[in-house]
Symmetry: C3
Subunit: 107 residues, 3 copies
């Protein structure tokens, strides 16, 4: 048994939670602030059999990996002039720790 | 030294907290949402000597084990008819992870 | 890779967070209640290379170790009389767990 601690962006928290539940993984969400990524993260605790760790990490990657999104350039120059070139911003991102569980009990 | 992570139902959180403190165990409660059980859980972090792990699990079991409660049947049939047979619902429940602690410091 | 879980007094949380970030450590803060110390704690999750564990513990010690502060004696005796002798109260304090990380992934 392993415990997966995953810190993900709040924006990806709901969809990741649904995906993990749908695949049969039990999760607990901790409200967190600041940290590994920008402010506004959620920490997931996921108890998982040793041979399912990679499957869990794949799901976390699919739904909360850091990716870029193209946005209109928000830069504004003097006298209201601005460029029309789009810029890429980074969204999402996850930090995952896998820890060994010596004893696991459901009561 | 071990770290016991216990996810318990909010309804059992206060009484479990008192019981652990009374038995001399130091606990930290994390507010959690959703997860291993129904929505509304509390995660306890309990630092404990190796030979006290079972004593902690016994206390968690005593105060937050899943159990059934008999309730009037809430089912309502057509035209306001309903059965009077009582039903059993499940309350409580806990998921416990025990993790090895390599270093423990009180500052 | 190690995961450092540090439960510190809320009063020391902001300055500790800044110090860890300034030294290049990534942290996640969990809101916590009650526990190892008096009510009002914050739990930090800090992912760190094996050879940096002591440096992290040194920073936690520097900013959130339990220390005494001299205060005017708040005791009040009968008829409004009170002593002028200052008393020492304890503030801060931290409980630190270091746990081995089997797998660490940034996504
Ligand atoms: Ni295992
Ligand atoms: Ni040990
Ligand atoms: Ni390691």
């Amino acid at each position: 048994m392993k415990l997966v601690l995953a810190v993900v962006n709040n924006d990806d928290s709901a969809i990741l939670s649904s995906a993990l539940t749908k695949e049969g993984f039990s999760t607990t969400k901790l409200a967190t602030t600041g940290g590994f990524l920008r402010a506004g993260n959620t920490t997931f605790l996921i108890g998982v059999e040793d041979d399912k760790v990679d499957a869990v990490i794949d799901i976390i990657s699919k739904y909360s990996r850091q990716r870029t999104q193209t946005m209109p350039d928000p830069s504004v120059y003097g006298m209201g002039m601005y460029t029309n070139y789009p810029v890429e911003i980074k969204i999402g991102g996850a930090t995952v720790f896998v820890v060994d569980v010596e004893k696991f009990v459901k009561l």
